[in-house]
């Protein structure tokens, strides 16, 4: 199916990130946001959804890690918007067990057919609700749930296809580690969040490693997660040897 998007870029709305990406994420692409714990992966992904809702793009959060309330309470409350989009219809939230249950897959997720059924359920949700932005946070528990690299690869390929066919732009959140290698292969873009230790000062950083079809910066940036959203500034090099 041909893409019907007006623009080839999906503006994340996170000013610094859009500048680094040369305008935004490639529309209908799938981007892996990976990194150590506490580096701001979930904050970035949630801000992507909220900014999208502010632009009138409906979002879907598939949450696999912790109860939604706990996830929300762990990030700064955004002050750039008066509205709580997670309360309204602009951003839907699904917890993995609910998604598995709705697809009748609680016990059989280790089978190929189950992966296809799960993806079909996800596609239905995207189509029925006109979802333009998807966040899957995080992929790491799915690796444990599914247990087969081949099936995880298959799942990601299918999600990538669904997003492309339905003009939906996605972010996959994943902890860094051996598992994230499969995601890196499948994803159109890879954004690495990390902690940078400079003489005992721990700075949060972000770096775009890969973004198909985008003329993006490959430099490393320092970030801050604030109530005004994620802020970026170039990581200083003067002290590096």
């Amino acid at each position: 199916m041909a893409r019907d998007s007006e623009s080839e870029r999906c503006r994340t709305g996170i000013e610094g990130l859009d500048r680094i990406l040369g305008g935004g994420l490639p529309r209908s692409s799938i981007t892996l946001v990976t990194g150590d714990c506490g580096t701001g992966k979930s904050s970035l992904a949630l801000e992507f959804l909220v900014r999208g809702a502010m632009f009138g793009e409906k979002g879907l959060l598939v949450n696999t890690v912790e109860p939604f309330g706990k996830l929300i309470s762990s990030i700064p409350r955004f002050e750039f918007s008066d509205k709580d989009y997670f309360e309204g219809e602009e951003i839907m939230t699904l917890e993995l067990p609910d998604l598995l249950e709705s697809a009748g897959l609680m016990e059989q997720v280790k089978e190929e057919k189950a992966i296809l059924d799960l993806c079909a359920r996800l596609q239905e949700t995207i189509l029925e609700n006109g979802i333009r932005r998807l966040v899957l946070d995080s992929l790491t528990p799915l690796h444990f749930e599914i247990g087969s690299e081949r099936l995880v690869h298959h799942l990601l390929r299918r999600i990538s296809q669904i997003l492309y066919e339905n003009d939906c732009t996605g972010i996959l959140v994943s902890d860094s580690g051996p598992f994230s290698e499969i995601e890196k292969i499948v994803a159109d873009g890879v954004l690495v969040m990390s902690n940078y230790d400079r003489g005992g000062d721990l700075l949060r950083t972000m770096q775009v490693i890969k973004m198909k079809g985008a003329d993006h910066s490959r430099s490393r940036y320092a970030i801050d997660l604030t109530t005004m959203g994620m802020l970026t500034t170039p990581l200083l090099k003067g002290g590096m040897h």
Binding site: D201, A222, D224, T226, M228, P234, K237, G238, G239
Partner: protein
């Protein structure tokens, strides 16, 4: 001759206009007059927000001093790079943001960005007090890179960026670097 440096500073900034980064060289004895000039005579009289980055005096002390001088501090926000490191008072405060260490230069730039956004992008005076105290803990190379990025970003937003340099503390290489990075140099001290 250094008569009423506060007023002279105000006149100089008016003359230069926004988007011009100014290195302000002052001496210890004119320090509080200069600060009052920047915050009160200039910022307040123009109705500007004032973002005050302090790495030489804790923000609580500075705020207290300004209040003693009967300066209206309603539109002043401090970025304090000292108190955390000194294990001083870092109680959450609407008017103050604390940076863990003066060596976390990127975080200083990010806090400035945060306050600019919080103020709705309205015009502001941004004061860095002082480059010499930051130079105690930072290498001149990284400091010049920091200044270039910080001032470049501020100039693009029609702000009034001011870098304070204390003549008694200033090392030649830092003075040279500040002269190179800033657009203008304004001196308010007696030449020996």
């Amino acid at each position: 001759m250094v008569e009423d440096p506060g007023l002279r500073i105000c006149e100089r900034l008016e003359e230069l206009g926004p988007s011009v980064s100014v290195a302000m060289e002052i001496s210890f004895d004119s320090y509080f007059d200069a600060v009052r000039g920047l915050v009160d005579n200039f910022s307040n009289s123009k109705g500007l927000h004032c973002i005050y980055i302090t790495s030489s005096i804790p923000a609580t002390t500075l705020l207290g001093a300004l209040e003693t001088l009967e300066v209206d501090t309603e539109k002043v926000h401090f970025i304090d790079c000292l108190s955390h490191m000194l294990m001083g008072n870092i109680d959450p405060n609407e008017r103050m943001i604390f940076v863990e260490s003066p060596t976390m230069l990127e975080n200083i730039a990010l806090k400035v960005e945060y306050l600019m956004r919080k103020n709705g992008g309205e015009p502001a005076t941004v004061i860095l007090d002082s480059i010499d105290s930051l130079a105690i803990q930072n290498d001149p190379k990284i400091l010049s890179e920091f200044l270039q990025i910080l001032l470049g970003g501020l100039k693009a937003r029609e702000t009034y960026p001011v870098v304070i340099s204390m003549v008694e503390q200033s090392r030649p290489e830092i003075r040279e670097m500040v002269h190179l990075v800033c657009d203008e140099v304004a001196s308010y001290f007696e030449e020996e």
